[in-house]
């Protein structure tokens, strides 16, 4: 059974913190109840236990290969994709009429967490469901019926084809072209790089959701359109023919080696066809729907890998005897103590736990908001949308940046063994490193947070967030044990407001470089405080449970409260240093010429 995540913690967050079953009061989700939620998670866990976790190391050691234009992946990938397709898990969140079961995203995000904790190298289905979601949301009936059922069955692969050799973070510079044809399709020509799952032999077809410019379109982001570009295209007689999408390179990566990252070349033989999704020149807007989901998905991957690393290092720490307690150093005849008894090892473990469970909570908060956006209307919907928009870059960044540090601490717990291939920590350390880069780097997310999300609608989004935090503070104040932490969080929200107020004048003066020069540090501070909010919410739920249980001991809730306190005492104080820098008038990076950096 699973040793890479805690089902107890998942249930606690779902039912005691986020009250998942309340979603079933909305008509859209009324076909569900706790039993369906639990069964879905059981099925996901079973697949993760049997088809993913056992092959974590194997898919890393047997990387995809590109030979003679064909990409071969580990044979278990096909078995895995068939299993998730047969179980109906790829499109579980889709509407009934599109073959889904209208499962709340809150539950879907937990499935993602379980699967990525088991084996993040198998990152295929998130891409497929994202592509299918884009087609169903913006595509024509013909595109939906041609592609979506195959994608949701796990027999076809979906991808996001955005990046080009000269256009990574700067999508306005993409050059892949689309020439309209009389039959309504487009002739596609260009190159795409870093396309995850961009080609492989575990599926019958690969469907790229690709950004390209229609000939004559405006420059910049306003001239980008979205196309469906399949590896094999359907002809009028119902057969499939090669669509001139060539796999011209495969990247050999530091981690996540189970999924190929492809260099694709389209239209070398002028025979690559694409079909427009939605309206011309609106491709980037459409793609942002997928990217926002993908950003939360990447955050979830960070939290998931950190979870697997935490439980691996915890198990080791409980079994590894080394040295004596610091106060018993002279008792050389006494047996060595387990390393979990050393305060510094406890600190590393608690740090990991605080990052994993705090991150997961923030990500589930976002998933719940996504569900509420779906089922509400008017101002209520707009408010949920604004909150989700604000929290998305934070939920992408905190779990990935802090996840890297958490996995590093996990590796450290194992000492020299952690650096060897005898334990999985070295692989986890390699695997998680991409997550602060995927789907918009930490720098991009930070500029999005400070430059856009904090200011849209005259700062309505942060006002909504602080109002939500205020509700948590009010509830926490009713428990004596939580009062000091509520007070601490109240001060931290004030610190964010102070720093934000000091930076906004630069934006109003049009000095955007000054405004955003330390956006990444601002993000770090903002993330610490946001996750502190999530920990206080968990603390409230744990206190409630303890009062309900009375004298019945349950170490789980005590552990929750202890970790919450650890987070407030060890992580939250770091905001002071960050705020000091952010309020500092010395602008060394802005004024530094490149000749100074030798």
């Amino acid at each position: 059974m699973a040793t890479y995540f805690s089902r107890r913690n998942l249930d606690f967050l779902l039912y005691e913190v986020f009250h998942a079953t309340e979603l079933t009061k909305y008509p859209y989700f009324e076909a569900h109840d706790r039993e369906t939620f639990d069964m879905v998670l059981d099925s996901a866990t079973h697949i993760a236990d049997t088809l993913m976790y056992p092959y974590y190391r194997d898919v890393d050691r047997n990387q995809p290969e590109l030979k003679a234009g064909k990409v071969t992946v580990h044979p278990k990938i096909k078995e895995f994709l068939t299993a998730v397709g047969d179980a109906g898990l790829i499109g579980a969140s889709f509407p009934f009429e599109q073959g889904g079961q209208q499962l709340p995203e809150l539950i879907g995000s937990c499935m993602g967490f379980i699967k990525m904790a088991a084996n993040n190298g198998m990152m295929y289905i998130g891409l497929t469901s994202g592509a299918a979601n884009l087609i169903t949301t913006f595509g024509s009936e013909n595109l939906i019926s041609t592609y979506v059922p195959h994608l949701l069955s796990g027999k076809w692969q979906g991808t996001m084809a955005l990046t080009e050799p000269q256009a990574g973070s700067s999508l306005s510079d993409i050059t892949t072209s689309a020439e309209p044809l009389e039959n309504g399709s487009y002739l596609i020509k260009g190159q795409k790089v870093f396309i995850s799952a961009g080609d492989h032999d575990a599926v019958d077809n690969v469907v790229h959701l690709m950004l390209a410019r229609i000939k004559g379109a405006p420059k910049g982001t306003k001239g980008i359109s979205l196309f469906v570009v399949p590896k094999s295209r359907l002809t009028d007689d119902g057969t499939f023919v090669d669509n001139d999408v060539a796999s011209t390179g495969i990247y050999h990566k530091l981690g996540q080696r189970g999924t190929p990252a492809m260099h694709l070349t389209m239209g070398e033989e002028d025979n690559c066809y694409g079909w427009l999704v939605g309206e011309p020149n609106r491709g980037l807007n459409y793609m942002f729907q997928m990217m926002n989901e993908a950003r939360i998905g990447v955050g979830m991957t960070g939290a998931a890998i950190a979870s697997a690393a935490y439980y691996a290092s915890l198990e080791y720490a409980k079994e590894r005897p080394q040295s004596r307690r610091l106060n018993e150093k002279n008792l050389l005849d006494s047996p060595q103590t387990m390393i979990i008894n050393h305060p510094d090892v406890k600190r590393m473990l608690l740090f990991q736990k605080a990052v994993v469970e705090g991150s997961l909570s923030l990500l589930m908060e976002c998933a719940r908001l996504s569900d509420l956006v779906h089922v509400t209307e008017g101002e209520e919907k707009e408010n949920y949308e604004l909150l989700l928009d604000l929290l998305t870059p934070v939920a992408k960044t905190f779990p990935t940046e802090m996840g890297v540090r958490a996995v590093s601490e996990g590796l450290q717990v194992l000492g020299g063994y952690g650096f060897t291939e005898d334990f999985p920590l070295e692989q986890m350390y390699r695997d998680i490193r991409i997550t602060p880069i995927y789907e918009g780097t930490t720098g991009i997310q930070s500029q999005d947070l400070l430059g856009r999300k904090m200011t849209i609608k005259n700062g309505k989004a942060p006002r909504l967030l602080f109002a939500e935090i205020a509700k948590t503070l009010e509830e926490a104040q009713t428990y004596d044990e939580l009062k000091p932490y509520a007070e601490r969080l109240r001060k931290e929200t004030g610190r964010i407001q102070e720093v934000t107020a000091s930076l906004l004048p630069f934006a109003m003066q049009g000095n955007i470089e000054r405004f955003l020069m330390d956006a990444t540090l601002y993000m770090e501070m903002f993330g610490i405080v946001t996750v502190a909010w999530q920990w206080l919410k968990q603390g409230i739920a744990a206190k409630k449970a303890q009062l309900t249980l009375g004298d019945t001991e349950d170490a789980f809730y005590e552990s929750k409260l202890h970790t919450m306190k650890f987070y407030f005492h060890y992580e939250v104080p770091k905001t002071k240093g960050l705020a000091t820098r952010l309020l500092d008038t010395e602008v060394l990076t802005l004024e530094t010429g490149k000749e100074v950096i030798l």
């Binding site: 369906t36 059981d42 099925s43």
Partner: protein, 245 residues
């Protein structure tokens, strides 16, 4: 063909076991429950047999409402309807009597269950049910096929397995590799909500076991690795520390 599959509601194999009320009650707080793994094999084979031969699969549990999620899961896997005998399953004889009572009211061709539950592991319920109903029972059954009114099956015996055939009806205690566990798919999960789950009251049974106290086994000691070339050290430790020589 009418198949009855009896399932137990047991703690997950990784659950931490503890007791309350002076060690007279199992502490269920934070414990995740599952369908008994051997029962799960029986259920999987029953669903396969239904797919091959037609008929119905009824799933039965003797337990309180906390068993309902496992019954729903069985329905999601492919059972057609469920019955729960609403009572605490106090011992094997009591449970067997409840199963036999339900079975006697419906003429099932096959009554399948795990070879044993994984909480109390008595492994006698199938034999008791067969005795109470006056039909043959076999366990542990590793392979099962049905042709007409005849069952052909293999069961594990000391040193190997024996291949048997017998006329239906039968009571069989099952184990792997009779079938592979099935996982509920989304469609099954959603349709399970609309399938019947009948709750019936138990029949009275005399002479139930009276529980006095639970106790955990002594914790296992830590493992020490002694290099093969240092056998003398191992002997010395067995004498001085383990005191078994």
């Amino acid at each position: 063909m009418k198949i009855l599959v009896c399932i137990s509601n047991v703690p997950d194999t990784t659950a931490k076991i503890s007791f309350t009320d002076n060690d007279t009650k199992f502490n269920k707080t934070g414990v995740q429950f599952i369908i008994g793994p051997y029962d799960d094999y029986a259920l999987a084979r029953a669903v396969e047999l239904k797919e091959q031969h037609g008929g119905t699969v009824t799933v039965l549990n003797v337990g309180e409402s906390e068993s309902d999620p496992q019954l729903r899961k069985a329905l999601a896997i492919g059972a057609d309807d469920a019955i729960r005998v609403n009572t605490e399953p106090t011992d094997s004889y009591f449970v067997a009597a409840q199963i036999a009572h339900i079975a006697s009211q419906n003429s099932y061709d096959l009554i399948l269950m795990g070879r044993e539950s994984i909480d109390f592991n008595s492994g006698v319920v199938h034999g008791l049910v067969g005795e109470m109903l006056g039909i043959a029972s076999y366990s542990p059954v590793m392979k099962l096929d049905i042709t007409g009114n005849e069952a052909k099956f293999a069961r594990e015996i000391d040193g190997g397995k024996e291949h048997l055939s017998a006329a239906l009806p039968l009571v069989l205690g099952c184990q792997e590799p009779i079938a592979e566990w099935k996982i509920p798919n989304m469609r099954g999960i959603m349709t399970a909500r609309t399938k019947s789950l009948a709750v019936v009251e138990p029949v009275s049974v005399d002479d139930s076991t009276v529980l006095e106290k639970y106790a955990l086994p002594a914790p296992k000691g830590s493992c020490r690795m002694i290099p093969a070339e240092e056998a003398e050290q191992l002997i010395a430790l067995l004498k001085t520390e383990a005191k078994v020589l």
